[in-house]
Amino acid sequence: MNEILDRLQPIFREVLENDDLVITEMSSAKNIENWDSLAHINLVSVIEQEFKIRFALGELETLNNVGDMIELMKKKMKR
């Protein structure tokens, strides 16, 4: 879990252009600045490339926070 979070940290910082950003499992678009719809597409594209996974249609809409996203990613990476 922490390993994925550690890899996500620099991605979020870079994509959202905030060097001081610290994400936790509780982070979400609601409590992070700049995480708008454009940044969202960007984050998803970069994460897909970086972790060599693909999110299916609708999968991301059900997630509440970064913790949920990491759970989903773990399932995908096992396959």
Binding site: I11, E14, N42, S45, V46, E50, L57
Partner: protein
Amino acid sequence: MQNINASSSKIASMNKLLEYPFDIGTLMRKRRALRTELSGRPTAIDVRIALLGGSTTNELKDFLELFLLDNGIRPVFYESQYNKYEEDVLVDDGLLRSFAPQIAVVHTTWVNARLPDPLAPEVEVDARLSAELARFEAIWTKLIDDLGCTVIQNNFDIPLERSMGGLDASRRDGRASFLCHLNLEFARASQRLPRLIINDIAHQSAVVGLDRWHEKRHWFSYKLAVSPTGTVTLAHSIAAIVRAVYGKTRKCLVLDLDNTLWGGVIGDDGVNGLRLGNETPEAEAFTAIQLYCLELKRRGVLLAVCSKNDPKIAQEGFSHPDSILSLEDFSAFKAGWGQKDEAIIEISHELNIGLDSLVFLDDNPAERELVATRLPMVAVPNIGSDPSNFVEILDRQLYFEPLDISAEDLKRASYYASNTQRNLVQASYGNYGEFLDSLEMKAEIRPFAPVYMDRIAQLTNKTNQFNLTTRRYTLGELEAMRCDPRYLTLYGRLADKFGDNGLVSVVVGRIEPDELHIDLWLMSCRVLKRELEIAMLDKLVKQARERGIKWIQGAYLPTPKNGLVADHYEKLGFELLNSNEQGSEWKLDVLAYTPKNTHISEDNNE
């Protein structure tokens, strides 16, 4: 090699992100940082662009901004509401009009085409084709004639899926077939309407690959008709067109010789040892490079050589029986043992074009690095070392994107060739006036005429050096001045015994009861020091007098490039009104003026 400090190498590596082939992953990650970096750089032009989308345009706007900033163009955007491209233009609620776009990008894709029903009879398909063309024509006409903008219109990509299989492309009611017909109609329309420019997404989607261009997930989730990956290529292409509209297309390809234009090292292998022709794969690859360069030259891109070689030996290479290019194809030829960055500066002086008009092609990474570091204005594509990729990598950078190919473009290389002859003659005259007389120059100086408007717009937007105000105007704005009695317009053409230089000078004055304010005075550097500016002033004064104007007022607005004309008005006998770091203002008494031109005869056959 000189020291490269950390920040400049960071900038260089960031900029590589905006070069083909695109590293999409890194570009996505770094796009905000890149935007921050590029926004801090000085830009030369502000452009108002209306993005009229048939699908979501956020991604396009974002990447387009990056590519434009990278080219010194700062865009301000208007975005139509989602899929309201048609209503936004045709239903005039004043919003688009008050934004006053200079460029309108109609970002439509196949999802916006009203396709015929599958299995529809041919007459219905034909009727649908005419209706679709008419629908778009209404949009273009409104944008061009009413709002006065230049239109960049996507043609159509094709869908990935084909429910009729291969017949989709061959039956009249097939979707691929219909879109292909519509693309042909768009192409024809762009030939009729000079301010309609087609952005060829049929090609871009093929380059990216249809399966990467269309991402159904992104369409269903975000209504993105083109994937983020495809959007990078799309934005790159639109930026190249915008650059061309503002005359920032590059003009000259500077070529290395050994292992760039031919296989082998001529100094070691001799002419007969060069790999050219179709005997080996390597020879064929170099022949293909020469052929591509020749095609560029024929449509108006200048070619120059920059090679570390003995000049005589370097020239011999073009006597190879399979060499497609010959010595006459080059407007400048620099072979020697000095540094290439210095030779490139000489080429820029010799051809009177800026370093930002040059592209440098060399197989040697050390030479590329040197030129890119010392002369950051020069484009230096990373062509690698495999000659089979050189053409593709050069071609995909879109450095030489043309808007059209004018008679002017077809003759360009010969203008420069005649300049070389003129320079030779000049050397044989002691007195410059005698030299000018010997040229037997003839000028045609007249108010703007419809037939020359394209060229006038082209010259206005690309002239940087002999340009007093560096104001840029679209074809529509210049057209409006031509027809407006409150403006006095002049163009100048110059011919001499060595050939025709074409239309090379433009002056526009705004009439304010008894004063004429010169908004624009520019001239191609092709005819520098030929005293055409004096003949232009004679004519300007004559026309001003006929209108009862008493004073002519001119301004010099300095830029990094136009130092050449800082004393232009002083030399022409204007009186200085005021001067500060923003520029200087000058005044001329019309009634006291006496004509000064003695070396150019005027062609008055109206």
